[in-house]
């Protein structure tokens, strides 16, 4: 069971590192949001499932899965609200200068 949880946690860390590279490298707030909100949710899912497997069956496992459900409810709502505010306040999407 320990090996399985270590594999899950390392996969989650990989997706989170990909999200951080996207935040640093991409040129615009819309593309940055695309990088963060997808890979961050998948990384959180993998890491919390790994921790729940390590913790074993019981009350704590149920609570960790409840945190996971809460993250999956709240993360898209926040990303959607941020990007809708950016679009409605008139921020133009990034375009390539000289095609």
């Amino acid at each position: 069971m320990d090996i399985l949880s270590i594999i899950f946690i390392i996969a989650g860390l990989f997706f989170m590192i990909v999200a951080a590279i996207g935040v640093i490298r991409l040129p615009d707030v819309y593309s940055r949001s695309h990088a963060v909100s997808l890979t961050d949710s998948l990384g959180a899912f993998l890491m919390l499932v790994g921790i729940a497997l390590h913790d074993g069956l019981g009350k704590n496992m149920l609570k960790i899965l409840m945190v996971l459900a809460l993250l999956y409810l709240l993360n898209p709502v926040i990303a959607h609200a941020t990007i809708r505010a950016a679009l409605r306040s008139g921020l133009k999407p990034w375009q390539k200068e000289s095609s």
């Binding site: 935040v23 640093i24 707030v29 963060v36 704590n60 409840m66 926040i78 950016a86 306040s89």
Partner: protein, 88 residues
């Protein structure tokens, strides 16, 4: 297992530093809001990993649930305020 969890904690703190660069540097205010959202997601996972590391998961999970709800309220309030104000 404890050494592995400590390495996970160090990597998570480095990732929080990367997001903090975007919060301090970002050209528009929406970049800063996006970085804040990423930092708070990392902080929730960091709290749970700290709980597993010190073998007190039952106490730290409640703190992380409260942190997630506070993050939702703060980010939604700032986003709605900027949408009403209407400046780039």
């Amino acid at each position: 297992m404890k050494t592995f969890l400590f390495c996970v904690l160090v990597v998570l703190v480095i990732l929080i530093g990367v997001y903090l660069y975007r919060v301090l540097q970002g050209p528009t205010i929406f970049d800063r809001l996006l970085g804040h959202n990423g930092i708070s997601t990392k902080a929730i996972i960091l709290l749970i990993v700290i709980g597993v590391y010190f073998e007190r998961v039952d106490m730290f999970i409640d703190i992380s649930i409260g942190y997630a709800l506070l993050n939702l309220v703060g980010a939604l309030a700032v986003a709605k305020y900027l949408e009403q104000k209407g400046h780039p």
